[in-house]
């Protein structure tokens, strides 16, 4: 076995290892030697070995086998071994280890040792890793030490008590009298410890206090305020004291702690705050602020003034100090100033506004931490009066801002713009600017929000579409921007092609140009799937807005009929169908969108509207659309109600069911809103009350009954029950329903899909109706089933739900 090498030799050996592997080898050898040494009985080099182990531990290697050795060494009578043993305990043991309990006894003994340095080792270790049990055990001992005459021990005992109070909150009461009396000490170390202890006692968690039915001690320590003021005054006025002086300030550490304690005591007490006013004014004016240490004291003073119930003159003084900090050349001071201003921007808004210029300048600072603070503060300072200039600065910042701040900046700008926008055009411009600069970092709701904003600013459609078209030509990588641009071009393409616009310079755009632009988006690999969906829909919409190139559009659409992306393929196929079979409806389907009703609270109606409108757009087969009730009940001349396509054409519905060309949505549990199949319905408020059931259809032995139940003010639960009284079985029984336009319908799955003969079983289906506009409820039900191999369909119209009026008739 190689002889153990003294500590420094080992360190030298490890450092001279050239590779990681070599180092590992050296360390493994050493650890083996150390382990062997530990197993031997006492020899002179125990402290060396443990020290070596601690070094190895600091390099990151495992050292848990030294824990027991620490315990043994702590119990040794030799001071050098105790010292290293306690150090090892602090480094290797923590309260979660089982071995830590073993040293409790040693600590207890050492706390009453005759030598103060041994006592201090024990105190230090207890304060570092003492668990709650250890603290409970030894608290009375610590209290005794707090009252000893040795100031060296007293100051250590004070901080040890702080640890105990942190660990076991209800032991705080034990230390109150001692803490109070320590304030009359002269020794700065003891004073400092006492102030920290009192601060800790006052800061105890109120929840814990309630649990143990203890009282908050702040009221008790209010009596110490005059003493603290006295001590502070002594520190400020006193002459030069070499051992405590730091650049001309006498004991800044103690000064700052006293200021902090005064803050806690004065927070809720008028009288205490009054007692401190003079002192705080004196500190604020007399402290030398050329060095960091002076600024540290000033900073703490400012925080205290702003937190207690200070008089207004003092507050103004404090804010002015912060303003001075903002102009300081030292970056640290500027950072500190902005952090503090952030805290008071809510309460002293005007005072902070005065420094807005400096804060905005800090946005251009090199330091990322300063930039972050400046951004938060700038966003807090935006108001109706300075919105234009602030947003200009923020947009400038956005173009050069670090990536981790981009998301915060964009959402902050959006919120501010929404709150204080001076005009719609400015608002749209701002959002577009943000999208072009940082489109990748905006939140998902930006696209629908922007679309809503654009539709609501009808006078700006021309301007918007021109701007977006130009933006699209420049750059198609920002997905949100491209999506909005495609949507606008699709909606307002005719305005674009007209070429003239009051708000911006006119540009000649031909139909081919527009289609080229959209096709570029469709084919680009940078476009996401959603974006391509937007582009395809826009292309489709243009088919009604342009005159010459409809064929080109048809070819584009049919190409995508075989696209790999399922979403695009589905759209293309449906649009193709719109060209072929339903060409007569195309114009109506692709008309302008009405104004979207935006619901800010996550109302299911609004949410679904936003999603449906932005993702699927109007060119989806109209039956699947869900449209909220338009603001005006009368369809305005230029905004065509999208789903009124059958308003005038009620003939198809009277045709025999077999020749039905209209695909009506089948009943499904997902449910969709249905068309106004009844045409020209004038919504009138009708009383909707719970109603009994009534038979609405009876033919060939098939009976359908309907019963309603009012669920709430606007929602109604309708139960349809079908029975088969005939001799033959019925299979594939399905019900489909249509309701007036403004009513929402949700059909649950039927209980079964076959009806056995002679009423052996019945089929029920629940339909939920939501009638927010309280229109007169009518329902049209189509029944289809198969009996003895032949299909059968029938339709019944229920003009008024049972109980509301006459019973339904076929």
């Amino acid at each position: 076995m190689s002889p153990s090498v003294p500590l420094q030799e080992m360190i030298r050996a490890i450092r001279s290892a050239r590779t990681q592997c070599e180092e590992r080898g050296v360390i493994q050898r050493e650890c083996a030697a150390i382990r062997a040494q530990f197993r031997q009985s006492d020899n002179g080099g125990r402290s060396h070995n443990l020290a070596k182990l601690l070094y190895v531990h600091m390099l990151g290697y495992p050292a848990h086998f030294g824990q027991m050795e620490c315990v043994r060494m702590i119990a040794s009578p030799r001071y050098s071994e105790k010292r290293v043993g306690y150090l090892g305990a602090m480094m290797l043991l923590d309260e979660k280890q089982d071995a830590s309990l073993l040293i409790t006894n040693s600590i207890k003994n050492d706390l009453s040792h005759s030598n103060q340095y041994v006592q201090s080792l024990a105190l230090c270790t207890l304060a570092c890793m003492g668990s709650a049990e250890m603290c409970r055990d030894l608290a009375p001992e610590i209290d005794r030490l707090l009252q000893s005459s040795n100031s060296y021990i007293k100051k250590k005992a004070a901080l040890c008590a702080v640890h105990i109070v942190r660990k076991v909150q209800d032991l705080g009461e034990l230390f109150v009298p001692a803490a109070r009396s320590l304030l009359s000490e002269k020794n700065h170390g003891v004073l400092h410890g006492a102030v920290v202890l009192i601060t800790q006692l006052c800061e105890r968690n109120p929840e814990t206090l309630k649990r143990f039915r203890k009282v908050c001690l702040v009221w008790f320590f209010l009596q110490t305020v005059p003493d603290l003021v006295q001590i502070m005054k002594g520190l400020i006025i006193s002459g030069y004291s070499p051992e405590h002086d730091v650049s001309g300030i006498s004991d800044p550490f103690l000064q700052v702690r006293i200021l902090r304690l005064l803050r806690i005591l004065g927070r809720n007490s008028e009288s205490a705050s009054d007692a401190m006013n003079d002192l705080l004014a004196q500190v604020a004016t007399n402290t030398d602020s050329t060095k960091t240490v002076g600024n540290a004291v000033l900073y703490e003073t400012v925080l205290t003034v702003l937190d207690i119930k200070s008089e207004s003159g003092l507050r103004v003084l404090a804010v002015n100090i912060l303003g001075r900090f903002l102009l300081n050349s030292d970056r640290n001071i500027r950072y500190i100033a902005m952090t503090s201003l952030q805290k008071i921007v809510g309460t002293d808004h005007n005072a902070v506004q005065r420094h807005r210029g400096t804060i905005v300048d800090c946005l251009k600072d090199q330091d990322a931490s300063v930039k972050r603070r400046a951004l938060e503060l700038s966003l807090a300072l935006v108001s109706a009066s300075n919105i234009r200039s602030m947003i200009k600065e923020l947009l400038l910042f956005l173009s050069s801002c670090p990536p981790e701040l981009k998301a915060q900046a964009t959402s902050g700008i959006f919120i501010a713009a929404e709150r204080y926008a001076p005009s719609k055009r400015w608002h749209i411009d701002t959002i577009l600017h943000v999208l072009t600069t940082a489109g990748g970092d905006v939140r998902d709701e930006t696209v629908p929000n922007l679309i809503h904003l654009i539709t609501s600013a009808s006078e700006l459609h021309c301007y918007t579409v021109h701007k977006l078209y130009r933006a699209l030509l420049t750059d198609i990588s920002q997905q949100s921007l491209v999506q909005v641009a495609c949507w606008c071009i699709g909606e307002y393409g005719d305005l674009l092609l007209k070429g003239e616009c009051q708000e911006t310079e006119p540009v000649q755009v031909s139909e081919d140009d527009v289609l080229d632009a959209l096709e570029t988006v469709l084919q680009s690999h940078m476009s996401s799937s959603a974006t391509r969906g937007f582009a395809l829909t826009a292309t489709m919409k243009l088919s009604t807005r342009i005159t010459d190139n409809v064929d080109r559009i048809r070819s584009i659409v049919s190409i995508y009929g075989s696209c790999i992306d399922v979403e695009l393929q589905q759209r293309a196929v449906e649009y193709n169908a719109l060209f072929k079979k339903y060409d007569h409806m195309r114009a109506a389907v692709l008309e302008r969108m009405p104004l979207i009703e935006k619901n800010n609270s996550g109302n299911a109606n609004g949410e679904a509207t936003r999603e449906t409108l932005t993702e699927t757009n109007s060119s989806r087969t109209a039956q699947e659309e869900r449209v909220p009730p338009p603001p005006q009940q009368q369809p305005a001349k230029q905004t065509y109600d999208l789903l009124d396509l059958l308003g005038g054409a009620s003939e198809p519905l009277q045709q025999s069911p077999a020749a039905q060309t209209l695909p009506i949505i089948t009943s499904s549990s997902a449910g969709g809103d249905l068309l106004d199949l009844l045409g020209g319905l004038e919504p009138t408020p009708g009383p909707v009350t719970p109603a009994p059931s009534a038979t609405v259809y009876e033919k060939d032995g098939v009976t359908l009954t309907l019963s309603c139940e009012q669920q709430s003010d606007s929602s109604l639960a309708v139960t349809l029950t079908a029975t088969n009284a005939s001799q033959s079985d019925i299979s594939g029984f399905t019900l489909q329903a249509a309701v007036p336009k403004s009513v929402q319908l949700n059909m649950n799955a039927p209980s079964r899909d076959s009806l056995p003969a002679q009423g052996a079983a019945q089929l029920t289906q629940l339909v939920m109706l939501n009638n927010p506009n309280k229109v007169n409820l009518k329902m049209r039900i189509r029944i289809s089933y198969t009996r003895q191999g032949s299909a059968f369909q029938d339709m019944v119209q229920v003009d008024s739900l049972p109980g509301l009026g006459a019973a339904g008739h076929t």
């Binding site: 070094y55 050098s80 230090c124 170390g189 400092h192 640290n332």
Partner: protein, 154 residues
């Protein structure tokens, strides 16, 4: 209260670690890794303050060593800078013109000095002379002459 004090070199090697809150070994390693990465990545002439999780990080570079400490929300950052400076002064007084090698070869002495200066995450002694005096007096209690006289001899 400060949560930890770390000293590491420009290459990211740890020279001293003092923890004032109970953390598992894994958590400690994570903190060390994060601190070294964050602090070493800072360009020169930037402010000495960072935000990390819910702690304020204050760091200062002295020659080849970075002193890095984590503070709570209500602590005074400027005072933390002063505290770091005071600790460096104490080391300087004890070792006589301290350099990184002193701290490497006599790390246990650096810990003893720290334990006389800070406790429980708070400052224990504000007097410059008292700390050095206590450590030297405690050194005299060392049992063997050889240990007492062992000063850096690289």
């Amino acid at each position: 209260m400060i949560h930890f004090l770390l000293l590491f070199s420009r290459q990211g090697k740890l020279r001293l670690q003092k923890w004032f809150t109970p953390l598992s070994e894994l958590e400690k390693k994570k903190v060390i890794r994060d601190m070294t990465l964050m602090v070493l990545a800072r360009p020169p002439r930037t402010s000495n303050f960072l935000q990390w999780r819910d702690l304020k990080i204050v760091y200062k570079r002295y020659a080849s060593l970075y002193f890095c400490t984590g503070l709570e929300e209500k602590d005074n950052e400027l005072l933390a800078l002063e505290m770091i400076h005071r600790y460096v002064e104490l080391l300087d007084k004890y070792f006589g013109n301290v350099c990184e090698l002193d701290i490497i070869f006599n790390f246990e002495k650096a810990y003893f000095i720290l334990d006389e200066f800070l406790m429980c995450g708070e400052i224990l002694e504000t007097s410059k002379f008292a700390v050095g005096g206590s450590v030297e007096e405690a050194d005299t209690l060392q049992e063997t002459m050889e240990e007492y006289m062992s000063k850096p001899a690289y």
